[in-house]
């Protein structure tokens, strides 16, 4: 058990320093202990709380099992996952292209970058009803709201990565007569890869926030419909279970991006 645990830690590139001779458990064991203590606390609290509002952990686990057998809910979860992936793909592809243009072209940097910064600084939450008004209550509004949260961090990190390139490399390329596309493929893109992966991670957290916010806002269909139904019917076990499942999707997507980023940085380092 122990080596696997230590390896999982190393994958997150966090050195584990086990306190020697202090009698304290390792940080990871202690962390698991904290989580276990919280679950026990939840169990105890659920014993005192009104069952209309709080469900004990084991009831939530049973609910997860049951809900996974419900085809309506499964299709709502599947649709949310699909919206998350679509918004992420659109935002990262478009963001990388715009970021590259801003990073490499002085004109684009002067003309487009200020607009990007302006839009990024706008608070997006109040615009949620506007998105739903324009794109409807279907997946389009959720994807659009996810894209609008994810694209700007992507543009900004890629623009920064493609702009700050070792001038010696560029001078070398130019003096050996490299063509524009050769410079792009052999110098600009390789040096921008680290910022590209950072952009992906930031874009993922933006996508999650945007899509989930829009999903909760639209109560006629999708996840929002089920959260309203479970809350109105005082079925906390189902509500907790749905939230746990969505959180699991979010954590998985986040971790994929984070591991990708960490792995790449290790190659480079």
């Amino acid at each position: 058990m122990k080596p696997a645990v230590v390896r999982a830690e190393a994958a997150r590139s966090q050195p584990v320093i086990l306190p020697r001779g202090s009698g304290l458990p390792g940080p990871l064991v202690a962390r698991l202990g904290v989580v276990a203590a919280l679950i026990i606390l939840w169990k105890i609290a659920a014993g005192f709380a009104d069952p209309m509002f709080v469900a004990p952990p084991e009831a939530v686990a049973v609910s997860i099992w049951h809900l996974l057998g419900e085809s309506d809910l499964k299709s709502a979860l599947g649709q949310t996952l699909w919206e998350l992936v679509s918004a992420f793909v659109i935002a990262t592809l478009a963001g990388a292209a715009i970021g590259l243009a801003i990073g490499r072209s002085r004109l684009a940097h002067a003309m487009v970058y200020p607009i990007v910064l302006f839009l990024y600084a706008l608070p997006q939450a109040p615009m949620l009803p506007l998105f739903v008004l324009i794109f409807g209550i279907g997946p389009a509004a959720k994807i659009a709201f996810g894209v609008s949260h994810a694209i700007f961090p992507m543009i900004i990190t890629v623009a920064a990565g493609t702009r700050d390139i070792d001038p010696a490399l560029m001078k070398f390329a130019r003096s050996t007569g490299a063509r524009t596309h050769q410079v792009l493929w052999s110098i600009v893109l390789p040096s921008a890869t680290a910022s590209f992966f950072t952009g992906l991670r930031l874009a993922m957290s933006g996508t999650l926030l945007g899509v989930l916010l829009a999903e909760l806002f639209v109560s006629q269909a999708g996840i929002g419909f089920f959260t309203h139904r479970y809350a109105d019917a005082f079925q906390p076990a189902n509500l907790f279970a749905l939230i746990v499942m969505l959180a699991a999707i979010a954590v998985t997507l986040n971790e994929v991006c984070r591991i990708g980023e960490g792995r790449f940085n290790r190659w480079q380092g």
């Binding site: 997150r12 600084a121 608070p123 939450a125 739903v132 809350a231």
Partner: protein
């Protein structure tokens, strides 16, 4: 490079003007569905009415109240927990990754639970805002206090500084710049969370009012109110940034 702020400022201004002109022309010539994009002039008239009659004040008060309470809870808890955790390297190792992985979970998911626990009123918004703002505060407090210069800490300890002196004379000044950044991020994300959750399910507040006009299909008013809320949120954002800069200068 000296002309850059001027260029960037005029590009921004030009963009906003262009957007306004495009909106004006397309709505004046019925190029877009007026139910989706209202007439520019009608929206401006409604915006003027809103500002003149001040009907937004009660909702602004609700939103600000939620923001202040949420931020107070988040910063007190975040600073206290961050301080406690940063006392030893061991607790930092145990809790810091825990908080940062929780921070990467979209906490907005908890909102349906908060509505169930605290109802549709301000309670659920405060809970949401406080939860979202807690993480940047606690993480920057741990980072700030945990990374105080080792030499400085050792020197103070060896000269027999008490815990109290250590905190006020060494740790606080060393960590404040980082912590101030965390407080600003916490405040801004709490504001966004409150505005967002007010649109999802609420009985009052700026976000809720936008949805009210949207549900009533009063799109000119909805656009006007959205513009107003964007302006208010942007102003609050700049205010917080300015406060942070002011606090930074006071320490330095």
């Amino acid at each position: 490079m000296n002309g850059m702020p001027l260029v960037s400022g005029s590009v921004k201004l030009g963009f906003v003007l262009l957007l306004g002109i495009a909106w004006y022309v397309s709505s004046a010539h019925q190029l877009v569905n007026p139910l989706l994009v209202p007439s520019f002039t009608a929206t401006m008239q409604d915006l003027w009415t809103l500002l003149r009659d001040g009907v937004f004040w009660p909702d602004l008060r609700i939103t600000l109240y939620e923001l202040v309470v949420a931020f107070a809870i988040a910063s007190i808890l975040g600073l206290a927990v961050g301080y406690a955790v940063s006392r030893t390297r061991y607790t930092i190792k145990v809790f810091d990754p825990l908080f940062s992985s929780l921070y990467s979970v979209p906490t907005i998911l908890l909102f349906p639970l908060f509505v169930l626990f605290f109802g549709l009123g301000s309670g659920s918004k405060i809970a949401m805002g406080a939860t979202i703002a807690f993480f940047p505060v606690v993480l920057t407090t741990i980072a700030g206090l945990g990374n105080a210069e080792v030499g400085l800490v050792k020197a103070a300890r060896s000269m027999g500084a008490s815990d109290w002196q250590m905190f006020w004379q060494i740790m606080l000044p060393a960590s404040l710049p980082v912590v101030l950044g965390g407080l600003r991020i916490g405040m801004v994300s709490a504001l966004l969370a409150i505005l967002g959750t007010e649109t999802i399910a609420a009985i009052g507040g700026l976000g809720h009012q936008i949805v009210n006009y949207s549900d009533a299909m009063d799109t000119p008013m909805m656009f006007a109110y959205t513009l107003l809320v964007l302006a208010i949120a942007t102003a609050l954002n700049s205010l917080v940034t300015a406060l942070e800069g002011f606090a930074r200068q006071r320490i330095a």
